[in-house]
Amino acid sequence: MNGSLEGWENRLRAAAQEMPYPPTPDIAGAVRHRLERAPQGSAKWRLAVVTATVLLALLAGALSVPAVRAAVIEFLQIGAIRIILPAPTNTPTSTLPVTMTPGRTPLPTPTLPPSPTPGDLVALDDLQGETTLEAAIQKASFTLQLPAYPAELGLPGRIFVQDMGGTMAILVWTAVDNTEKAELILYEIAPGSWAGQKSAPYSLERTHVNGREAAWAEGPYMLNLTNGNTDMRRLIVGHVLIWDENGVTYRLESNLDLSQAIKIAESLAPIP
């Protein structure tokens, strides 16, 4: 760091040390009360951790056997989206990132990029087809839906409609103070669209939305850009929940956890 940067850093340090904080509450007292109220909680919690660890170890052991891995399906079809799975490899289990949640089936991670990087991110301003919600409703060949949960979510701040062999509506909720920063994106894709014909995510887990099979994945997907290209890109470093309903394929992109994403997905309702 050169002298100028060092001086800048020193001013930053001095400013940070003057940060005014709210008074620190009596956390010690509250913690004491909580621990006194639940004396058995610790033992139960440890038992749950041990049980989950044993299950994970058993599962990892099973997946380390090539024959077991080879039995995993080669693609997953959710509505218009076909998610390509990797061919079985002899990769040691310890380096094969497999996601698992009790009650759901883990899948191997494709042998694509070893870890997600922001290099495939695209800015909202580079997306083709920005329009209004009213125009999107008219253009779509199906009934657009919006999440009813969380109640304070409101209407999307930016809306795009792209033609991908069928309408793909992209509804974007942005940060309140930055309309270029997407926080939650809902893609609604018409039947027959090729928008997701080939998708090879960084990670993948099977789950359910409204009792139907769904995918919880991380990775890029096809988008029409303002430069005229159609490219495999994404708008958020996070996960995408993919499911279908009445022939329409939905993709919810966010950095939320799976349970929150499912809650939002299951709250979809037609726009009044």
């Binding site: 760091m1 003057e18 005014p20 709210p22 004491r32 979510l153 309140v176 939650l184």
Partner: protein
Amino acid sequence: MELSGESARGAAQPPEPPQASADLILRARQGDGAAWEALVRQYQQPAFRLAYLMLGDPDEAEDVAQEAFVRAFQALDRFDVSRPLLPWLLRIAANLAHNRRRSIGRFFGAIQRLARDEPRLVSGETNGHEQRWQARTLWEAVKRLGQGDQQIIYLRYFLEMSVDETAQAMDIAPGTVKSRLHRALGRLRKVIDRDYPELREFWT
């Protein structure tokens, strides 16, 4: 939002006396609630402040700090008593705060409360408290960065953790702290240059 007016300077944690903490930890492991309470009291301020910086809401920060100490107590068997306790506690608090932020309802709620309670600060509108104005404006700028950048800046500059402590709190190598910090500061400087000219001019 009422603030105590107490800044980090002068309230920084004294160096942890390792043996005293180790004794308290060993007693807490054996179920001595008073020992754990003494440790919570010693470290509740930095845990609360880190959660507040990450969440922007004192009630949320209190919940997270409280939960962090409860979970740490439950996991004490796994803690290496030869290491300082504070970075480990801050790692737990940061993880919980991060998860809390990802809960969209709470996150949006906090942002809305922040926007409502704390309109953007303007230089000279803080009764002459230039230093606090700088700190709050700096915090606004840091919040524009990614989660990892925010965390490393909060630990190093706002909570005045050493490189080693920051490394332990983030579970990364000290060398990685330095390189990540360098990149985070570069991004912060760009944000300030672009969006906070009043701060940029003040620091020029």
